[in-house]
Symmetry: C2
Subunit: 137 residues, 2 copies
């Protein structure tokens, strides 16, 4: 099982520590292709590579992946773009969202065909969500 994990980078790194928890949990279910998304040293300036190299690598990983797991609490153009592509390509997509009073999730993600949306409060809720998602194909 190859897993593409998506989280905000240039959209903002407020959730970077949580992304690391997610990546650690996902390793029990398969190979996480995008572990750099959880790198605590990666800032909102993003990776030092040029944009074309990042784009080509990430699209190749997304094509190679069996599923996309996206943390969608922080708005992010790149994460939205990847969900749009993955649903178009028939990849399974799991979106993880922490509800808050301050913000609502985009209707385009919440109601998207091909997306399994699971709300949660903290990393301790995720193992059960992943058990459910990876138990069904």
């Amino acid at each position: 099982m190859k897993i593409y994990f998506a989280g905000a980078i240039r959209g903002g790194r407020d959730d970077a520590a949580l992304y690391l928890e997610i990546v650690k949990l996902l390793r029990a279910f398969g190979e996480v292709l995008t572990e750099h998304v959880a790198d605590a040293e990666l800032t909102a300036l993003g990776e030092p590579s040029d944009d074309r190299a990042i784009y080509d690598r990430d699209l190749a990983w997304l094509r190679e992946a069996d599923c996309l797991v996206a943390e969608v609490t922080m708005p992010s153009l790149g994460v939205g773009y990847e969900i749009g592509k993955a649903t178009e390509w028939g990849r399974r997509v799991l979106c993880l969202y922490r509800p808050s009073d301050a913000r609502l999730l985009s209707a385009m993600i919440a109601a998207s065909d091909g997306v399994t949306l699971r709300e949660y409060q903290s990393a301790s809720d995720l193992k059960e969500i992943f058990d459910d998602f990876f138990a069904t194909r």
Copy 2:
């Protein structure tokens, strides 16, 4: 020419006044299917409709559109998703971006196949950008 204009709604409404300037300019080039994105009364809570109705309507408009024009300065999952779909469907895509020191544009948008990216500073720069984009097919 049917134009799908995309801008952040639940991602944040800081640029709503600018979206209205963009919609007014775009009307010279075709029918703007998504004028509500520029509605000054639309807050980050989004439209009162349910998410599924919004999703179905917006996806139908995006399929019907000849091109997508997206303002991508404000991170937005929905705008990213629409760019992912539109590029996959072979629609022409124009992304408008205001560079700043505070934030960098997602590499997935900046380097995406099928995206024409134009940087600008204010609405007064846009007529020339639109003249260029709509002059070529």
